[in-house]
């Protein structure tokens, strides 16, 4: 073996065993270009080699699922011939190394995933996690990430309509940037990255290829951070949203005019990945001409061209007789388009071997008169290593594990303290930097329980929410993941929408640690159980491992995005009290549950006890009830209870509109606990008093506890004898908290 190759594979992140495997596949030593391709395609980020065996346990089937995991994004049927395409993806490590570009290109990447299915990207949500916003480094990260998300989304004309942001010291060395995009399309126009027959052409569209982002998926995304990692900055890609905007419009026009067989985005591992996936999916090979790739730097070597993660590129699969039309559309939109490859017949016998048919589609890559790579497509795309890594499952917290939170604080002070906490408080500082209007579809935007979007070409709307509480997951990963599913679906149901599908982003530390792998496995189990019980298929998503810095892991942080369907956009239920004179009700049961709570974090700083108990059947009944109530137009407002419990829900329901309320607290628990406990499966409602009887009857039929708390009205939030605060003052506290933490307010 040449010492060059030997030195190289380790540098590229391949293990000795993986290198042996490559030798076995090829029957010879790989070229430099082939080694680069395998190192990227077999990286954790691209191959899911550590997570694959677990992800199979997630339910992915459902009557509405048109496309489950495995394609660029999941697709669900919304009825009337319209489909929604949605997916969430992480860009954590690039965002730590270079916050603005890292976050911007994360948005650009997920938008191209949606586009690749043929849909017009309509809106995005983001789940962000940072350390203490008062620290200068965290402030720089937050500012850079938010500006990057805004810059990219605003410039491409995709509305940013929701998400969540929270702060915890565990993310100080490894922030999380998870971006979700949803798009809509006529279902019959659904594209897949699939060529149909040999001779079909692969046309590379969009930006020139440069040296940016080389090794992004392997060196950056599939390893932990250590000291001195500034050197990884060149591994981060640089985004050009203008180029992406042109690419979007050109691709949509190609789809509308039915000039495409398929479409594939270029993301991690660049041309290597796109070519291998396209060929492997079709069971064909591809003859690739790298000389057709427009280069930013003419001195680039073949392996660099193959794995560059330069942004704003797509691969269109085109029948030869449509090529001229395709090139004309690209020319009109001012984007480059070149024939990169041609689909070829599979080579070899195709006979089954060891039970599975042998796929001999060969990707053969020519560059400057030489064949620089010649590898079976499936060996790159599908047949990479799969690891059942050793795992140690976490012990669930003992029954008697206590949250150890004092409950002797003064009630008004507690409400104000929660409203002043940057994690609980308003994120207006963040979302005012995002265009939420573009696209003429945002019925409910940031600040609502869930975003509500009108669906073009249909009389319906969808609701979307993302959630995930790392503190709960740190205490009990299975419970934390299930609670994330429940909360996101509950947020969606609060708008009156029926939750129908899930996308997930599983953010964990190094899979090479048995305890991390154990918490990952537990989280998958918890998520699977919740999705089963709530009837929610997981249509796609992303796993992000190695979220740790200098050996300090993040909390296990499964983020869940739930999509819901709302029959009538005009019936969308708001989350704040719209007017005085309404009855205030609480659905669900309040227990003293403070493990992992915001109140525990604020008062003690520790993380102890058990997360709130979750009865999945009760949760499902609650969602059904909410949809029924909304359909019957009984709800004037509905607001999920989660972080900060009833206290924060009341603050949010009053400050948004300035409409106050006078309420009594739910019985059976101490007053402070009634306000700050985070018991699951609860929703705050406002209804016209005339509907009270119907509400009570329907809730009883559904088996959901319903308690009348009081009425809306006035300009104060009042719990007689305990609490009497002006809503305007609460609003000031709630709105000022984040700017104050960032040093922008005295």
């Amino acid at each position: 073996m040449s010492s060059v190759v030997e030195g190289l594979y380790r540098q590229l992140g391949l293990t000795d065993e993986e290198f042996e495997r490559i030798l076995g596949v090829l029957g010879r030593e790989p070229s430099r270009a082939e080694l680069a391709m395998y190192s990227l395609m077999w990286s954790e980020h691209c191959s899911y080699k550590s997570s694959k065996v677990h992800l199979r346990r997630l339910p992915s089937q459902g009557a509405r699922v048109l496309q489950g995991p495995g394609e660029n994004a999941g697709v669900v049927d919304l009825g009337d011939g319209v489909a929604a395409v949605f997916k969430i993806e992480s860009h954590n490590h690039p965002s730590f190394v270079e916050p603005f570009q890292g976050a911007a290109t994360g948005v650009g990447g997920i938008i191209r995933d949606i586009l690749a299915m043929g849909a017009r990207p309509a809106a995005s949500l983001n789940s962000l996690r940072f350390g203490d916003p008062a620290e200068p480094l965290q402030r720089r990260l937050l500012e850079g990430v938010v500006a990057g998300i805004g810059h990219y989304g605003n410039c491409v004309g995709v509305a940013t309509v929701g998400g969540e942001v929270s702060f915890d010291p565990c993310y100080a060395g490894n922030p999380l940037v998870n971006a979700l995009t949803v798009g809509f399309m006529p279902a019959e126009r659904l594209l897949t990255g699939r060529a149909e027959q040999p001779g079909d052409l692969a046309v590379l569209m969009g930006a020139k290829t440069g040296r940016d982002g080389i090794g992004g998926a392997s060196v950056l995304a599939s390893a932990s951070f250590e000291e001195g990692d500034d050197a990884k900055r060149p591994n981060v890609q640089v985004g050009d949203p203008f180029q992406e905007k042109l690419l979007i419009e050109a691709c949509l026009e190609l789809g509308e005019r039915r000039l495409l067989r398929g479409l594939q985005d270029l993301g991690a591992a660049g041309i290597s990945c796109a070519v291998a996936e396209v060929a492997a999916r079709a069971g064909m090979g591809m003859e690739v001409d790298l000389d057709a790739v427009p280069l930013r730097e003419p001195s680039m070597e073949a392996w660099e061209v193959l794995v560059s993660e330069s942004q704003e590129r797509m691969l269109a699969l085109v029948a030869p007789d449509r090529l001229d039309d395709v090139l004309e559309v690209c020319r009109r939109w001012g984007i480059l388009a070149n024939v990169l490859g041609e689909m070829t017949e599979p080579e070899g016998s195709g006979e089954p071997r060891g039970g599975a048919p042998v796929n001999r589609g060969i990707v053969r890559v020519g560059f400057r008169g030489e064949v620089v790579a010649e590898v079976p497509a499936a060996s790159l795309a599908d047949d990479g290593p799969v690891y059942s890594r050793p795992l140690v499952r976490p012990d669930p917290p003992a029954d008697g594990a206590l949250a150890e939170v004092p409950l002797d604080a003064e009630v008004a002070g507690a409400v104000l303290a929660l409203a002043a906490d940057p994690t609980c408080a308003s994120k207006r500082w963040v979302w005012e930097q995002y265009d939420r209007f573009v696209g003429h579809g945002t019925v409910a935007g940031p600040g609502s329980d869930a975003a509500v979007l009108r669906v073009p070409g249909s009389g319906r709307a969808v609701a979307l929410a993302t959630d995930g509480n790392g503190r709960y997951s740190a205490l009990d990963p299975a419970a934390g993941a299930a609670l994330a599913v429940a909360e996101a679906a509950r947020n969606v149901a609060c708008t009156g929408a029926q939750p129908i599908a899930v996308t997930n982003c599983l953010n964990f530390a190094s899979p090479e640690r048995p305890e991390v792998m154990g918490s990952f496995a537990a989280a998958v189990d918890g998520m699977a159980a919740a999705c089963q019980a709530l009837g929610l298929p997981v249509t796609g998503g992303n796993v992000s491992f190695y979220n740790e810095s200098s050996g300090r892991p993040i909390h296990p942080t499964p983020i869940v995005g739930v999509l819901g369907l709302l029959e009538d956009p005009g019936a969308a239920v708001p989350s704040a009290f719209p007017r005085p004179g309404l009855d205030v009700w609480l659905l669900g049961e309040t227990r003293v549950e403070l493990g992992g709570s915001a109140w525990q974090r604020l008062t003690t700083g520790h993380l102890k006890g058990r997360p709130p108990a979750l009865d999945l059947a009760a949760e499902a009944a609650l969602h059904r009830l909410l949809v029924t109530l909304a359909t019957r137009r009984l709800l004037a407002a509905a607001h999920d209870l989660s972080d900060g419990g009833l206290a924060l829900a009341l603050v949010e329901a009053t400050v948004a509109t300035g409409v106050g309320a006078t309420i009594t607290l739910p019985p059976g628990v101490p007053p402070l606990a009634a306000l700050v406990s985070e018991s699951a499966s609860r929703v705050l409602l406002a209804i016209p008093p005339a509907s009270a009887e119907e509400l009570a009857t329907l809730a009883a039929e559904a088996g959901v506890p319903a308690t009348r708390l009081g009425t809306t009205g006035g300009d104060r939030l009042v719990v007689p004898g305990l609490l009497d605060l002006p809503v305007s003052g609460l609003r000031g506290t709630y709105e000022a908290a984040l700017p104050r933490a960032l040093g922008e307010l005295a």
Partner: protein
């Protein structure tokens, strides 16, 4: 009535402007930046977005596109032209409107609903508005701080069309100016987005009267 909506490379709100025109009873006509022909439209909207990426000064490249030659001729002959956000920037760059738009005072992109006061109804796009009345319309921009050498003279000439209401100036614009017109009143530019404020399902509807103005004036 046929209202042309120009698509520059990088326009984002062109589709929404066409939707708004259609919802108000107009007939939206897509116009392409590379064509020097306005297809016989009765009015032109230059929409929001990031024409040519706005990597140079906003609107600085778009003003040189073939369609802008036609728009300038149309404007000179009295045709109604509305520039929204990036379209306003393009009109200022093209010299069809006075002043310029600079980076927001807060140095950040700002997206929020603002209240503006109608200062002039002597324009093709505000004739149906109430003078002194207020409209709630969203803004969303990073470079919307209006500047002019002599804002008092501009106001005296009646060329200030919209001002941000007290406390609503999102970008540090001089004299709270949100929108201006040319001396003849057929060309108007503003930073707020009337096309995003026509449908009650989606929020405030302060943009409707701008479209009503042009639609009723010429029918």
């Amino acid at each position: 009535m046929r209202i042309g909506v120009v698509t520059f490379p990088g326009s984002c709100d062109d589709r929404d402007a066409r939707t708004a025109v259609a919802s108000m009873g107009g007939d939206p006509v897509p116009l392409w930046h590379g064509d020097g022909d306005l297809r016989g439209v009765d009015a032109v909207v230059l929409p929001g977005g990031f024409s040519y990426g706005d990597y140079l000064r906003c609107g600085a490249i778009a003003r040189f596109s073939p369609v802008m030659g036609a728009v300038a001729g149309f404007a000179r002959s009295g045709g109604p032209v509305l520039g929204i956000c990036n379209g306003f920037q393009v009109l200022c760059e093209a010299g069809l409107l006075p002043g310029a738009l600079l980076r927001n005072a807060g140095l950040r992109f700002v997206c929020r609903e603002v209240e503006v006061t109608v200062e002039s109804t002597a324009t093709a796009w505000t004739s149906a508005c109430t003078a002194g009345g207020s409209l709630t319309i969203p803004v969303k921009h990073g470079e919307g701080r209006y500047v002019h050498d002599d804002p008092a003279a501009l106001a005296a000439a009646g060329q200030v069309v919209f001002r941000y209401a007290p406390g609503h100036n999102p970008n540090g614009s001089l004299a709270d100016i949100a929108g201006v017109r040319n001396p003849a009143g057929n060309v108007v530019g503003l930073m707020p987005h009337p096309e995003h404020a026509v449908d009650p399902l989606l929020g405030p509807t302060g943009g409707r009267t701008l479209f009503e103005s042009v639609l009723t004036a010429r029918v």
